[in-house]
Symmetry: C2
Subunit: 291 residues, 2 copies
Amino acid sequence: VTVVGVGLIGGSLAGALREAGLAGEIIGTGRSAETLRKARDLGLVDRYETRLDRAVKGSQLVVLAAPVGVISALMANLAGCLEPDALLTDTGSVKGDVVAAARRHLGECLPCFVPGHPVAGTERSGPEAAFPELYRGHMVILTPVAETLASATARIRALWTAVGARVIEMSVADHDRILAMTSHLPHMLAYALVDHLVARGDDDRCFDLAAGGFYDFTRIASSDPAMWRDICLHNRAEIASAVRELAGSLERLAGHIEEGDGATLFDMFRRARDARAQVADRRRGRAETRV
Amino acid sequence: VTVVGVGLIGGSLAGALREAGLAGEIIGTGRSAETLRKARDLGLVDRYETRLDRAVKGSQLVVLAAPVGVISALMANLAGCLEPDALLTDTGSVKGDVVAAARRHLGECLPCFVPGHPVAGTERSGPEAAFPELYRGHMVILTPVAETLASATARIRALWTAVGARVIEMSVADHDRILAMTSHLPHMLAYALVDHLVARGDDDRCFDLAAGGFYDFTRIASSDPAMWRDICLHNRAEIASAVRELAGSLERLAGHIEEGDGATLFDMFRRARDARAQVADRRRGRAETRV
C-alpha cells in the first residue's frame, strides 16, 4: 500500500492499516522529506520514498491523501507509473473536481479509481496529529462514477470498514452539495465570525469575554487555512451559494430582531433546538450500537 | 440570601454559596413551585417561598436570576418589599434594559442595585442542570451605574470572587455591545445554521453527515429558545446590527469564493486561525494561573 500525503488523514489511515495488519508493507510519500521521516519515526508507515514513481511501484493500493489542490497534478504523474491492476482512491473533501481530474488524467486506470471522502478530522494537521483510531465510528463517503468497477468499490469499502468506519455511497453531485452545507459552510461561518471579531473587536475584552459557546464554535477556525482555501476553490459554486443563502437567512433574522418579532424568533430557535436534539439522539444511538 | 429563579444560573450560585457557607440561609423563589421543590431537594437552597414578598423578607442580598424578560416585572414587585439596606443584583445577559427597569422601578433602592452578568452557562437549563462549580474560573461582568454605591459593588464583587469567578467591570453600553458580538451573535449563527439545514436539508443524510465541527458548532443551538428570544428582544439594536454586519461579511466571502480569489481567502482564514490560537493560549495561561 502506498499513501500519498502522510498528515492527519493519510497518516491515520496508514497507522490504522498497519496496526490492523491489513497491508504487507506501507510506503509513505509526499512533498516533504521531513514530514515523511516523522511519519516513519512515528510508526505510521514502514518506509518512505520521496519519488512518486518509486513509491507506487509494486503497490496494489494507492491512497491519495494529499490536499485537494494537488490531487489533479498527482493524478497526471501517477497515470504512467501505477501497477496495471492497482486500486486507487483519494480522501479529498470535494469530489466533483477530483473526478474531473481523474477523467482527464487516469486513462485506462479510471475504472480502478474509487473517489472517497472520510468525514473525520480534527483542527490539527501533520503526522504528529495522526492516530490510528481517527476513523472509528466515522462516516466515509464513496462516490463511484459510471466507469468505476464494482469490485474496486467493494474493496475500498472493505478497507474503510476494517479500520472502523461506516461507509456510505452517494453521487458526486450530492456529495458536494451536502458537504457544502454540513461541513464547508460551518467552516466558512467560523472563519467569518473570528475574522469579524478581529476586525471589529476594538479591545482585548472582546476575546477575553468570548464565552464557552464561542470557543467551541470557533474551534474549526483553527483548521489549516491552505486546505480550506483549496476546498473553497474546488467546490466554488456550492460553497458560495450555501454561504450566500445563509447570509440571506441572517439578514431576515436581523429584521425579526429589529422588529421585535418574538413569536418568529421563538419558533426559529425552538425548531433549531429540536433538530439539534434529534441529531444528538441519533449520534447516541449509533454510539450504543457500536458498543 | 434570596435567589429569584433557581435554574442553572441561580441554582448554581445558590449551591455555591451554600457549599462555601457564605450565606446564613438561602431562600429560593420563582414562578414554579415544582422547580423550587426540586432545587430544595437537590440541596441548592435551604427552603423556598412561592411569594416574592415573603421570600425577600429579612434577606440582606437578593439575586435576580430570572430570565431577562421578567426582570422588569420582578423589580416593580420588589420595590415595596426589600429590606431597607438589602443589596440587589441580577444575572441578566443584557444590561441596558435591566438598568432602565431598575431606574423605573427601584426608587430609593437603586443605589443598592449592582447590575451583573456571569458569563457562564451550559446549553442545559433548570435546577437539575445546576452545579456549584459552574462559576469557577469564569468571568462575571458588573456594570455599576452613576447611582450605584461603591460599597454595594464591592460586596457583590466579593461574593462572585468567593465562588471562584473573575470579576471585571465595564459600562452598560460596552457590555451590551461586546456581548452582542461575543455571545449573542454566535448563538444567532448557530440557530440560523441549524434552521437553514432543517429548511434545506432535503434528506436525512444532511444531518447524518454533519461532522464533528458542525456538531460542536451547533451545541449552543440547544440553548433555551425562550431565553434567547428574550435576550434578542432586550438587546435588539446591538444584536441586529451584529447579525447584519456578519451577513455582510458572508456576502463578501461568497464573492471571494465565486471569483476564486484564493489569496484573499487564505489571508482571511489565516488571520482567523491566528486570532483563535491567541485566545486559546490566553485561556491556557489563565487555567495554569488558577492551578
